[in-house]
Symmetry: C2
Subunit: 228 residues, 2 copies
């Protein structure tokens, strides 16, 4: 499907028909998700495709039993996991040997990423350094805290989520991104660790006409776009 048609076709669908979704649709959408840009290419995202009926039922409950979850054919939980840097940073170091890449890349993945992502106990020290140096010259002010790192990884996972939902739309199916869930319970269902964050739960199915709340409602472009 044409890209702009796909963007227009995608709507958040709150109720699906009982038509099953072929697993190739989900696989293809996951492939598209994994091609999203992401922070330093560390790919700190995870996608839990919940298939076991018990876990699915528990997940629907944790999504506050909302229609978009209850009537869904498939449920995918998008999760951020900063700790993946431990696996991906060394691999990137090995495989990033492009002549176009800057020389500092060895220092970046070898030394800086572990400090930024891993040494969370040094948060106040990082904050101090960033803000002292920042008095004199431009410098990144974040990430200094583990919450900042979460934010970076959540952002990347959101970019991937959008690819996923558009890819579902491009195949003629529908989706709904949900943030209305009990994060503690979802983490328990998926057996996630302390550093994981649940970014969103995406449901997939074929839209029921009642699953759409009318025309897509967007306010004037002038409210959001500033040309300066």
């Amino acid at each position: 499907m044409d890209f702009f048609e796909t963007v227009k076709r995608r709507r958040s669908v709150r109720r699906y028909t009982q038509e099953p979704v072929p697993s190739t649709v989900i696989e293809t959408a996951l492939d598209a998700a994994l091609l999203a840009p992401n922070s330093s290419n560390l790919q700190t995202w995870e996608f839990y495709w919940v298939q076991s009926p018990d876990k699915k039922a528990a997940l629907v409950k944790s999504c506050l039993n909302q229609g978009a979850a209850r009537t869904a054919q498939e449920l995918i939980v998008v999760v951020s996991n900063p700790n993946l840097y431990k696996k991906t940073a060394p691999e990137l170091l090995k495989r990033l040997n492009s002549p176009n890449a800057p020389k500092e890349i060895g220092f970046y993945y070898g030394k800086l990423v572990p400090v930024l992502y891993g040494w969370t106990i040094l948060a106040p020290v990082k904050w101090l350094i960033f803000n002292l140096v920042g008095l004199f010259r431009p410098i990144m002010r974040r990430p200094w805290s583990s919450r900042d790192i979460d934010e970076v990884c959540i952002k990347s996972a959101a970019l991937a989520s959008e690819n996923f939902m558009l890819a579902v739309a491009a195949q003629g199916y529908d989706s709904c991104p949900m943030e209305g869930f009990d994060e503690c319970r979802v983490k328990r269902i998926l057996r996630l660790g302390y550093r994981h964050r649940v970014v969103m739960v995406i449901s997939v199915g074929r839209r029921d006409p009642k699953g759409i709340w009318g025309e897509q409602l967007r306010f004037s472009k002038d409210w959001f776009v500033k040309r300066i």
Copy 2:
């Protein structure tokens, strides 16, 4: 352009040619960005298209003078602004009169959204309520803090950013999402307020062959996709 071709075509480009980008390309991409799904449809995002040469030069410096900014034809700063709920929530209340929408929508936009987005001083109270109720039944554990609200808005802005970058790719141009910037300085250039957060700076242009670091590097799907 076909959707999946677009996803594959999009690469993070670190150096652009001197070919200008027609303003229609940016406008079309902004239109696509504004169609992204977003939290409660509150559309708490802003897009600063920096055109003034002085501001552009200052922005490039604040992006640590990296090639993706320095050689860019156009620079768009994606910003989250939770305070937009004050404008969008009442409008949504007025205009969301679909028979498919749940009855609770009046309570949601009229009462709950202002408490969640606005009453930041009550953060500890919200935390306590969510976690006490959560002992007995599923409930959203967030947003209780202003940082949680930031996270929600940043997530929505990231979904829009992905639409923007894909729309640029679909029109044959290239982009790079940057998180390597000095947020304090960028906020000063754009005259942003306390609640604004700079989500990413996106540069746009036509790719220079040296602006790509070789084949797109993604690790095995098994590292990230879990079927449970």
